[in-house]
Subunit: 197 residues, 2 copies
C-alpha cells in the first residue's frame, strides 16, 4: 500500500508550509476511493458535493448535449484537483460529468468539510485561492491557444506540451478537447506539416 498521506502532504507543501497536524486533520476529512476505467465520478445534472484530488490516474470533464455529442473541457492527472466548479460553488446541477479514463484513485473532500477546514486551518483558504488562480490561468491560456492558432497547430501544441499524454488518451478524445472533428484530426496527423508540400 502506498503512502497516501505522504503524497498529499508533499503536494500541499510544494507551494506552502503546512504542519503535520494540519495535514493530518485535512487527511482525516478526505476519503480515498478508486474508480475503474470508464467509471463515472460525477454525472451530468448531478450536484457536485465534492472536490477530488487525483492520487493516480487520469480523468476527463465533459459535457453531453441534447444530440448526444460529448465535448471534453478538461483532462486531469496525478496531483491535480478536479471538480465541476460551478456546481460545487453554487449548489446547482452540474453541466459537466467527470469520468475516469484510466483506473483512477482519488481523495475526495465534501464541501461542508472543506468549509470547516478553511476555519480551522486559515492557510488553506489561501491555498485554495491559489489553486483557483491556477485553474483560472490554465483556462485563460487554453483560450489563448484557441484564439491564436488554427487546429493543426493546436494539435502540435497539445502533443508537445504534455509529453506522454497523447499516448494515454484516445485520439477522438483529444479531438474533442481541441474542438476538432475526429476525421479532421486524422487528416491533420497524416499530413504532419501542412505548410510544406
Amino acid at each position: 500500500m502506498k503512502d497516501t498521506k505522504g503524497q498529499l502532504g508533499s503536494y500541499l507543501n510544494r507551494s506552502m508550509n503546512f504542519g503535520t497536524g494540519e495535514v493530518d486533520l485535512m487527511f482525516s476529512k478526505m476519503t480515498k476511493r478508486t474508480y475503474a476505467k470508464k467509471a463515472v465520478i460525477l454525472n451530468q445534472e448531478e450536484i457536485a458535493t465534492h472536490r477530488y484530488f487525483i492520487l493516480e490516474g487520469l480523468v476527463r470533464v465533459f459535457h453531453t448535449n441534447e444530440k448526444g455529442i460529448e465535448t471534453i473541457n478538461q483532462f486531469a492527472i496525478e496531483n491535480w484537483w478536479v471538480a465541476s466548479v460551478e456546481s460545487f460553488v453554487e449548489h446547482t446541477p452540474s453541466h459537466y460529468a467527470i469520468q475516469a479514463i484510466e483506473k483512477t484513485t482519488v481523495l475526495s473532500i465534501a464541501k461542508a468539510d472543506l468549509e470547516e477546514l478553511y476555519i480551522s486551518i486559515p492557510k488553506l483558504e489561501r491555498f485554495f485561492r491559489k489553486i483557483t488562480e491556477r485553474m483560472l490561468m490554465a483556462i485563460i491560456r487554453k483560450n489563448e491557444v484557441f484564439m491564436k492558432y488554427p487546429s493543426y497547430e493546436r494539435y502540435r501544441f497539445f502533443v508537445d506540451s504534455v509529453p506522454g499524454f497523447a499516448q494515454r488518451v484516445p485520439q477522438y478524445m483529444i479531438a474533442s478537447y481541441l474542438d476538432i472533428s475526429p476525421e479532421y484530426l486524422s487528416e491533420i496527423r497524416n499530413n504532419s506539416d501542412p505548410m510544406i508540400s
Copy 2:
C-alpha cells in the same frame, strides 16, 4: 464628490461582512484614479503590479497579435475587479492590455499591499478566493456559449444578457469579443432572424 469609500464598502458587504475599520484600512491602501476615454491602464508586455476595482466606466482587456489584430477577451464595468491575472500572479509580462472605453474611475491596489491586507484582514483572503471563483465561472460559462452556439446566437445572447451594454460599446469591439469578423456581424444584424425567411 462621490462617496467612494461608501461605494467600496457596500460592494464588499454585498457578499461578506466587513467591519468599518477593515473597510477603512483597505480603502487607505487604494488609490483613486480617473482615465480618459481610450487611455491605457495597462500596456501589453508590461508587468501588472495592480488590480483595479472599477468605480465608474467601462474597460476592455485585449491582446494584440504580431499582425496588429486585436482580440478582446473581457469587458468590465462598475463594481468589477479587473487585472491581467497571470501577469499579476506570476510577475510576468502581460499578454493583455487594459484600456478605458469610456472615461473610467478606478481604485487600484498594489500586489504587495494586497498581500499585507490578506494578513491583517483574513476575511479578505476568502473574499478574493470567491472573486477568483466567480471569474473562473464566468470564463467557463463564456466558453460554454462559444461551444454550443453559432455566431448569430452568441450575438443575441450578448445583447440580451447585459442590457444597455451593446449601446456603450462599438460594434467592432463586440465582434472581436464574440470572435466574429465585423463584416459578418454586420450581416447577422441586418438579418435579425436567420431562421425565418
